[in-house]
């Protein structure tokens, strides 16, 4: 086993602990935004996809890499936008809310 592999395994193990520790304290009302937010974070595969397309040396690799960049962009952009849209709606009560347009005013 090479030293590089060992270094990656170290990162893997430590991150697994960090991941579970941080998540354990999230209140259940934030579970959906959490799932959506972590969904956006694994969109980091975009970086891998760029490297693949940027290093492509055959037509097949170019086609696969091109597809990968599209899919990964969908993941990362869609993920962050949806999460932001959800979180936008968590407002504390203290702020007086302006009447919304669909509210029946009498």
């Amino acid at each position: 086993m090479s030293n590089v592999l060992l270094q990656y395994l170290t990162v893997l193990i430590l991150t697994a602990f960090v991941g579970t520790e941080i998540i354990a304290k999230v209140p259940s009302i934030l579970h959906t935004p959490l799932m959506s937010g972590s969904n956006a974070i694994h969109g980091v595969i975009l970086v891998g996809s760029m490297l693949i397309l940027g290093g492509a040396t055959s037509n097949l690799q170019e086609v696969l890499g091109f597809l990968a960049v599209i899919l990964a962009t969908l993941n990362v952009v869609g993920g962050f936008v949806v999460t932001d849209r959800m979180l936008e709606m968590f407002k504390p009560r203290a702020k007086p809310t302006a009447p919304t347009s669909d509210e029946v005013t009498k």
């Binding site: 592999l5 990656y8 893997l12 991941g19 579970t20 941080i22 998540i23 304290k25 999230v26 209140p27 259940s28 009302i29 934030l30 579970h31 959906t32 935004p33 959490l34 799932m35 959506s36 937010g37 969904n39 956006a40 974070i41 694994h42 969109g43 980091v44 595969i45 975009l46 891998g48 760029m50 490297l51 693949i52 397309l53 940027g54 290093g55 040396t57 170019e62 890499g65 091109f66 597809l67 990968a68 960049v69 599209i70 899919l71 962009t73 969908l74 993941n75 990362v76 993920g79 936008v81 949806v82 932001d84 849209r85 959800m86 979180l87 709606m89 968590f90 009560r93 669909d102 009498k106």
Partner: protein, 465 residues
């Protein structure tokens, strides 16, 4: 400092923002900023990658990369912006699926790329895991999307010998992995890709609509692990950190979700839960007991004279788009000095916390939302439990009837309140397909009709009194 070191430092910065973002998501106050921080970190990582060298040269096909990104952005932004909030679970499923697909393609392409250099066995193993997990996540998410979008039946799809067939496909995939490890055959890798796709589909088919959220959470974790596998192949700490973070959090979240339903994860995944519809859908049962129905006006008056009301919303409320009218009703009652709370079951809606998101959209302050235990203690002294579009989450069979498929699931004890009011479209059973004894309880009044219409009439009735 060399160019590569600088880029790696920027990657380290990005990885740190991802961890901070997940931490921020732990409180409503910091959640939105946390998400922004991660988005910024992602932007830094992507920009830095443009300056990276691959195989000793700068990135080729720059215009292709930019074109692909442009295509991704013009599809993703409008979709994410304008899809209705009730459709969020589908959206998360599909954005997760494409991520899994991308991870699978990255692993596959990297294998083709480095194959001529005779990579070490562990490199091939990383590739195979990336392709397998990523493709299962892609195919599984596509089926989950189809189920939630009602493009196909939400009921479990079962056929004779299903478990055996699934086991055989799974074993075939394993055998194929071992073979490829020895032969390093590209052709067989394509076969593995196809087989993983089939595996993803048949794995998800027997899972019923009510359990799909748990499944999406699991597939989200899968994609994370596939990304981590790609990270090993490409030698990228950033991908490993981000992938493992998501993998670890996703698995924990999945377990929390199955626990909220009082079931084990394996029960959720393999029992084809909800395939048998046990409810008859009739208003009179064989033993002669029937339900009592009332008009929205009756209920309006009942609410007007209550001193404590607990609202129990379910997915039916969201389908009818009745959240805003419901909030208006609650505000009217509060103006009369009546205490109003919302009791939120962990799996109300179609994802944990989905109902909170839907109510937040209607400007319901989150201080009024009670979690399960709090809600049940409030209900003991409540005058009215108003169940709007929920069914399975208040079904007493979960505590009373050991033969019921939902036995053991924690529920909201609506039956503790003085009066129970159900707003329902029809006598059809809930998502899990199980009859609800509470509908026949003498305390219970049913109001049939579209939840939004009924609530609007109730608002008028409360105002008139």
């Amino acid at each position: 400092m060399s160019r590569e070191t600088l880029i790696d430092l920027l990657y380290l910065f990005s990885a740190t923002t991802f961890i901070l973002a997940l931490k921020g998501l732990g409180s409503p106050k910091h959640a939105r900023r946390g998400n922004m921080v991660a988005a910024f970190g992602m932007l830094v990582a992507v920009v830095a990658t443009f300056f990276k060298y691959v195989d000793g040269h700068s990135l080729h096909h720059l215009w292709l990369i930019l074109l692909a990104m442009f295509i991704g952005v013009i599809i993703a932004v409008p979709t994410a912006r304008f899809v209705k909030m009730t459709a969020i679970p589908q959206l998360v499923a599909i954005f997760n699926g494409v991520g899994g697909g991308a991870a699978s393609l990255v692993s596959l392409t990297e294998f083709i790329h480095v194959k001529s250099t005779h990579p070490a066995t562990y490199v091939i193993l990383e590739v195979l895991l990336g392709v397998l997990i990523g493709t299962v996540s892609f195919a599984g998410s596509a089926i989950a999307f189809a189920k939630l979008q009602e493009l196909m039946t939400g009921r479990p799809v079962t056929y004779p010998g299903q478990q055996v067939i699934n086991a055989i496909v799974g074993l075939a995939a394993l055998a194929l992995i071992v073979t490829i490890l020895v032969t390093a055959s590209t052709t067989l890798l394509w076969v593995l890709l196809a087989l993983s796709f089939v595996l993803g589909v048949i794995f998800v088919l027997p899972i019923g609509g009510a359990d799909v959220p748990v499944l999406i959470s699991l597939l989200n974790a899968f994609t994370g692990l596939a990304v981590a596998a790609s990270g090993f192949t490409l030698g990228s700490n950033l991908l490993i950190v981000a992938g493992v973070l998501v993998g670890a959090s996703g698995i924990l979240l999945t377990r929390l979700m199955s626990k909220a339903m009082g079931r084990s994860l394996s029960n959720v995944l393999f029992s084809a839960f909800g395939s048998v519809v046990t409810a008859s859908g009739a208003t009179t049962r064989e033993d002669g007991r029937s339900v009592r129905s009332g008009t929205p006006e009756d209920i309006g008056i009942l609410l007007g004279f209550a001193s404590r009301v607990v609202i129990i919303p379910g997915y039916g409320l969201a389908v009818a788009q009745g959240q805003h009218v419901l909030r208006e009703l609650a505000e009217l009652l509060e103006a009369k000095g009546i205490e109003v709370f919302y009791a939120i079951h962990p799996v109300a809606g179609r994802m944990p916390g989905h109902m909170n998101v839907l109510l937040a959209e209607a400007n319901v302050p989150y201080e009024q939302l009670l979690e399960l235990d709090e809600a049940n203690s409030e209900l003991a002294t409540a005058d009215v439990a108003l169940v709007v579009g929920a069914n399975d989450t208040v079904n007493p069979a979960a505590t009373d009837d050991p033969s019921s498929p939902i036995y053991g699931m924690p529920i909201i004890h609506a039956d503790l309140a003085e009066n129970v009011v159900f707003l329902k479209r029809s006598m059809r059973p809930g998502f899990a397909g199980i009859e609800n004894e509470l509908l026949y309880n003498p305390k219970t009044t049913l109001v049939f009709g579209d939840a939004k219409d009924t609530l609007t009439k109730m608002v008028a009735a409360v105002k008139a009194n």
